[in-house]
């Protein structure tokens, strides 16, 4: 009883809480890093150097008036933020933080496919949110979002398949094991796939330069224009949770997950004193930082350019990479 229910439940509770709290701090981190990139201070009022902003912001959002537009589809309008957040949290059930069973909730043999399929459900939140608002800007945004997410999902999945070919397993733990056996991170074996996955990850999470569905300067906020208060906060949480998910997956698939750098070199064995989950979390942080850095640097793509990039550049490269990986796998 304890083994089968209580421990997993506890782990889920810890993980979800950790995730939500880290999302609020991710928002703070984003504001601070953006500020440093732009010659300003960022939040400074609440707590030392604005550190408590991460706590105050959610409180503000919860206490805000929750407005439902008069002609909105009420049920769908309420459902959309939930449908957006739930998949983002569910994905974490198969993200491992170490070999020890303590560090993961479930290891299923189709772990990677599970992640892909559950994240693909997340798009409903955006589409329905846009549609249910009964407003033109969100509708345009949700059309953009659905086209964008489906297109880039194909590229990302194709890319992941080439990693699966390299590792020979769909299990997340199996993939890290394979990297340990190979003695090298897959990022070095599959550099093209790594880059594709990173770009696809930016697009899947609606980050700059692919933030068209929520382009504030074009669509006044995109699909969540009509949302306020807690429902907006749910969208917000989902978005940042997705960023963390994508970073975690990329770190596990390409940067050896919780493995230390150069796992085959014995001379670096002293690095193993650092617990594995710290390795993974720090790798995730590197990705988060790069995401924010990119946001501070790049302008936004236009819809047609985004589609061209997805269909005419990323997908062909992903397919070519897959074919090459397959040939190499057969020959070697």
């Amino acid at each position: 009883m304890l083994e089968t229910f209580l421990i997993p439940l506890l782990k889920i509770a810890v993980l979800i809480n950790a995730l939500l709290v880290s999302v609020t701090f991710l928002v703070l981190m984003e504001r601070k890093v953006m500020a440093w990139a732009q010659n300003r201070l960022g939040p400074m009022r609440v707590g030392p150097h604005g550190m408590l902003q991460a706590i105050v912001d959610p409180i503000k959002l919860i206490l805000k008036e929750d407005i439902t537009p008069a002609k909105a589809d009420k049920w769908v309008f309420t459902l959309a933020p939930i449908m957006s957040l739930a998949p983002a949290l569910a994905v974490f059930s198969v993200v491992p933080f170490g070999f020890d069973p303590l560090y993961y909730i479930a290891d299923i043999n189709v772990g990677l496919l599970f992640i892909i399929s559950v994240t693909s459900i997340g798009v409903y939140g955006i589409i329905l949110g846009g549609w249910a608002s009964n407003s033109k800007y969100p509708l345009l945004a949700s059309l953009r979002a659905s086209a964008q997410l489906i297109s880039y999902e194909i590229a990302v999945t194709m890319t992941l398949v080439s990693v699966i070919l390299t590792s020979g397993t769909l299990s997340m733990i199996g993939i890290v094991e394979a990297q340990q056996e190979a003695g090298i991170w897959f990022g070095f074996i599959q550099p093209v796939a790594f880059v594709l996955m990173f770009i696809g990850g930016l697009a899947e999470t609606n980050r700059v330069p692919f933030d068209l569905p929520e382009a504030e300067t074009e669509l006044t906020g995109g699909f969540h224009t009509e949302y306020s208060g807690m429902r907006f906060a749910l969208f917000f949480l989902a978005e940042y949770a997705n960023i963390i998910v994508i970073s975690a997956i990329t770190a596990i698939m390409f940067l050896g997950g919780w493995l230390r750098p150069f796992p085959s070199i014995e001379a670096l064995a002293f690095l193993d004193v650092i617990p594995p989950w710290i390795w993974l979390v720090s790798k995730i942080f590197v990705f988060l930082y790069v995401f924010i850095w990119i946001r501070a640097t790049l302008p936004r793509y236009r819809y047609d350019q985004l589609m061209n990039l997805g269909w005419k550049v990323l997908i062909p490269i992903a397919i070519a990479n897959l074919v090459v990986t397959g040939i190499v796998k057969v020959l070697v």
Binding site: D73, V76, L79, I108, N109, V110, L113, F114, I116, S117, V118, S120, I121, V123, Y124, I127, L128, W131, L139, S142, L143, S146, A147, L149, I150, E153, L170
Partner: protein, 175 residues
């Protein structure tokens, strides 16, 4: 016992949602019920131990196909009465015939598989021994698709390719 309870509960929900899909007034709602339906079917697959099929069900149907349905439904003008969306050139008889044919085929398949349950066993008998572990049903499926069912699999992909090209030709005004 537990399995049966789960199965019948799921089946009830799946059928109920199926009815809601065709009775819902707003097209978007019926698409939503369809998504729920697909998700529950995926759960059904999980209870049957077919995790791979379950995940693919979610990925392809819930995550891909229905998003496109939703896309179309949102674009169709909802200001008009539902009757106006009807087309008087509808070929009702042909539709009924095709539907009947599919139904007959399904029934035939069910009866055929009842009578001849060892087809699958025959196919798996050629499998390498290491794949006999039931946890590895992804590999088993791959093995079957590329050996026993290679030709139907390729035919299906050809059919999809033709459909895809057809859709592009219809949609693009000038290629």
């Amino acid at each position: 016992m537990l399995e049966a309870v789960v199965f019948y509960t799921l089946a009830t929900f799946i059928l109920g949602l199926g009815i809601l899909v065709i009775t819902a007034r707003t097209p978007v709602h019926s698409v939503l019920f369809l998504v729920l339906n697909f998700l529950l079917v995926a759960v059904l697959y999980v209870t049957l131990g077919a995790q791979y099929v379950a995940v693919i069900q979610v990925l392809v149907y819930a995550g891909g196909v229905v998003v496109l349905y939703l896309f179309v439904v949102m674009l169709v003008s909802l200001k008009r009465a539902p009757e106006e969306h009807g087309d008087n050139r509808r070929l009702g008889v042909l539709g009924a015939l095709l539907g009947g044919a599919v139904l007959a085929e399904l029934i035939a398949i069910i009866f055929a598989s009842r009578r001849n349950t060892n087809t699958v066993v025959n196919a798996t008998s050629d499998m390498p021994a290491r794949l006999s572990d039931p946890m590895l049903n992804t590999e088993q499926l791959g093995w079957l698709l590329y050996t026993e069912y290679l030709i139907p699999f390729e035919l299906a992909s050809m059919l999809l390719l033709v459909a895809m090209i057809g859709a592009i030709v219809l949609a693009k005004k000038n290629i």
